[in-house]
């Protein structure tokens, strides 16, 4: 969009991020980062003098006590546009993402209509560019309408840059169709990855929470962990059969984590993600019957939470993805079994990772950033511009956050159009100070810039 480029040129300004602790895939160091007007990193070093770099009138961003890292990358975001704009739009979702420290999000295809054609891909990408708050990428559906019946035109979507395909919201139930999808996709120009929402519907149908002690007590139909594990097992077998890459979305069970661990040990081309809610919350939350705790895959047991953390710790799970799923308030004020699945995630993910993974010593800060920036950038096929090292000449997609700043989650203060965070009232540590998208501040001092 020439429009956006013009606007960007208007505001482009040199910046120096001073006094921060830089963490990227190459390691950690205390250096300043200078960003040129063209949106690339001009220099990295101690006590940088912008004038001597030719960066006149550079704004100084104080990063004392903060971490400076490649911008976060979410490969599992529901932006709801087109079709559910009352819950979220590309713009409001991008704003939430920027405030959460993200410089890129991968929009899931379960919109209305689904992202299953070049036309809808274009619509989402255009809306992302117009908003200018985040690098909005689109995933494409594997099957037409996500109905699991016929292959979607993956080629025409790949030609527009789509690098990840999924029927997210549903798994592809048909074994043969999934095999064909993997085979077909491996012949597309540009490497693509098929990602699976693992859920065997024959076992999950009618269920609204994890099947177990709490579902039994509360009288809510359950979803057994095996509904997820059977499809993980099948897709590992299909990855072996076809040689194609498979990415497992939102792993939630100990058994699924173990299956992926074994598949990786055998050298199969599989990757996996987990959500913050699956490493922070259990099915006991549902005792309140508040549908804000209804999500798919469901919140599981404390043992599953421990297994997800262990999977993150040993690298079985490559990425932390939000599964940010906004829903209008009135839909979440329905009876539990009528309410839609999903919870917000973009604005709380980093703080939850810091508070629940780094502080207890499950992961280092560098591990968390790997799982939230450069590894998901690779899985999502955007490693050319996202999750890059903080180094001269690289695009300045950068997050600056204070890992110690404490804040309390207040649903009314979120930028998302929806309010369905399960963390209302929770005190967490780790606050985004600034976010730069190609050198342009999308967030300054914790405030969105547009």
């Amino acid at each position: 969009m020439t429009d956006t480029q013009t606007r960007k040129a208007d505001v482009a300004q040199a910046l120096v991020i001073r006094g921060g602790r830089v963490i990227d895939r190459t390691g950690e160091r205390h250096v300043d980062v200078a960003v040129a007007e063209d949106g690339t990193i001009a220099a990295v070093g101690t006590d940088l003098d912008p004038a001597s770099l030719g960066l006149h009138g550079a704004t100084v961003l104080d990063a004392t006590g903060c971490v400076v890292a490649p911008g976060l990358v979410d490969i599992h975001t529901h932006l709801r546009e087109p079709g559910r704009e009352e819950a979220e739009t590309v713009e409001t979702g991008s704003r939430a993402a920027a405030l959460g420290g993200y410089t890129a999000v991968l929009a899931m295809p379960n919109t209305e209509p689904a992202i299953d054609s070049a036309a809808v891909v274009r619509q989402v990408l255009d809306a992302g560019r117009d908003a200018g708050l985040c690098d909005v990428r689109a995933s494409g559906a594997i099957t037409v309408g996500r109905r699991g019946e016929a292959l979607a035109p993956m080629g025409e979507m790949a030609a527009l840059g789509v690098r990840l395909f999924t029927d997210d919201g549903c798994g592809v139930q048909d074994d043969r169709l999934m095999r064909r999808a993997l085979e077909y996709a491996s012949g597309l120009p540009g490497p693509v990855t098929l990602a699976q929402h693992c859920e065997v519907e024959a076992l999950s149908e009618g269920g609204h929470m994890h099947e177990g002690e709490w579902s039994s007590r509360l009288g809510i139909p359950g979803i057994p962990p095996e509904a997820e594990e059977l499809m993980v097992f099948r897709d590992i077998a299909l990855a072996r059969l076809t040689g194609a890459k498979v990415h497992f979305q939102h792993l939630s069970t100990a058994g699924a984590v173990e299956l992926v661990r074994q598949a990786k040990a055998r050298g199969l081309p599989v990757t996996a993600e987990a959500t913050p809610h699956h490493f922070t919350l259990t099915h006991a939350e549902v005792a309140s019957y508040d549908p804000v705790f209804k999500v798919n895959p469901p919140l599981r047991t404390a043992d599953d939470v421990a297994a997800v953390k262990a999977g993150l710790a040993d690298g079985t799970i490559d990425a932390i993805a939000t599964d940010h799923a906004p829903h209008a308030q009135e839909l979440k004020e329905a009876p539990f079994d009528h309410a839609p699945c999903g919870m917000l995630g973009l604005e709380t993910a980093l703080a939850l990772a810091v508070t629940e993974l780094v502080e207890p010593g499950v992961l280092s800060l560098a591990d968390v950033l790997a799982a939230m920036s450069w590894r998901p950038a690779e899985i999502g096929g955007m490693a050319d511009t996202q999750g890059r090292p903080i180094a001269e000449g690289e695009p300045a997609n950068i997050v600056v956050f204070d890992p110690t700043e404490e804040w309390t989650v207040d649903p009314t203060q979120l930028a998302s159009r929806s309010r369905n965070t399960p963390y209302a009232g929770r005190t967490v540590r780790g606050k985004v100070r600034h976010t730069l998208l190609c050198g342009e501040p999308t967030v300054l001092d914790g405030k969105a810039q547009r």
Partner: protein
């Protein structure tokens, strides 16, 4: 010890009756208090004019999202005998689907000025949600598979009336426990009062997990009956056939129905109970429902007095469950 259906594991809700666990910090004390009050309301019900002015000026609304003429009439009769004004807000599930959120419905009713909302819903948890949004007291008249606490209270009362008490009784709850709100409330109430409860059902009709349920389980009704003081039969619903939970009603009856032959295995003093409506010939043989020891009609009769006691405790006494009076 946590009990099934106790929701947030938080015992004692002085304002509402949603789960048996709400009946006070000590559930047994709460139930006993209802029982004692029920005695006096049974006496009221036997008068020529069975009505007292206790709740005059108070309004009780029945908010039934699921048809249940029996339960609704029982609650409304109880409210009227206490001189409360009653309103019925019948909502077909279809109108909920039309768009009004549950919260909007509750706020509409609250705006009319009510003191108690009696809620029935096909979805588990709705009364708990309603209670979060309502100032009025909320009484659960059955929610999904979760709980039906006044049914459990009237069951306790009936056992006490006909067998002298619940403590120490060996109670078999037979049938579709998995989908039964009655079973969840009964297990909580019976075990709180010191009964020994055995669930008798095919594995497919038991909850997937019984962790924390202080019960025994059997799949062999014949072996249980001889040592049973109360045989409590649950309603078997036809749709369970289509879910592959049991092969056929015929097989269910053959294995788990209280046939005349099986009823003969019960001790002579044993009670036979059913929450109604019965499927005669399925979970209970027609002649068994009529025999000595079958107290199904007593259950219905006691339902009114028990619900009077609950309404009185919540609206009229100024006391909380368990006898505390600092409200």
């Amino acid at each position: 010890m946590s009990r099934p259906g106790s929701g947030a594991r938080r015992h004692g809700d002085p304002r509402n009756l949603i789960s048996i666990g709400d009946l006070g910090p000590d559930v047994a004390d709460g139930i006993e208090e209802v029982m004692r009050l029920t005695d006096s309301f049974v006496e009221v019900s036997e008068r020529a004019i069975p009505k007292v002015p206790t709740l005059r000026g108070r309004t009780v609304v029945s908010l039934f999202f699921e048809d249940s003429t029996r339960t609704r009439l029982s609650f409304e009769t109880a409210a009227k005998r206490l001189s409360a004004d009653t309103m019925t807000f019948s909502v077909g599930t279809s109108s909920v689907k039309k768009g009004e959120s549950l919260r909007d419905t509750v706020e509409t009713i609250e705006a009319m000025g009510v003191d108690a909302i009696v809620v029935r819903h096909a979805s588990s948890g709705v009364p708990r949600q309603v209670a979060q949004w309502a100032e009025a007291s909320v009484i659960n008249a059955g929610d999904g598979w979760h709980e039906h606490p006044t049914q459990a209270l009237l069951d306790c009362y009936t056992i006490r009336q006909r067998a002298g008490g619940v403590a120490g009784k060996r109670i078999a709850i037979v049938g579709d426990v998995k989908h039964s709100r009655v079973a969840r409330s009964d297990v909580g109430a019976f075990t709180a009062l010191g009964a020994e409860v055995t669930l008798v059902a095919p594995p497919t009709l038991l909850p997937p997990s019984l962790d924390g349920w202080p019960v025994k389980v059997s799949h062999d009704l014949d072996s249980v009956l001889a040592s049973t003081d109360v045989c409590y039969l649950l309603r078997m619903q036809r749709e369970r056939m289509s879910e592959a939970l049991v092969p056929s009603l015929r097989e269910y009856t053959a294995l788990y129905g209280l046939t005349a032959r099986r009823a003969d295995l019960l001790p002579e003093h044993a009670l036979i109970m059913h929450p109604g409506p019965m499927n005669r010939g399925v979970e209970i043989a027609a002649e068994v429902a009529e025999r000595q020891g079958a107290v199904i009609v007593d259950q219905v009769r006691n339902g009114v007095a028990v619900r009077m006691a609950v309404l009185f405790l919540l609206l009229g006494s100024g006391t909380e469950w368990g006898g505390e009076s600092d409200r």
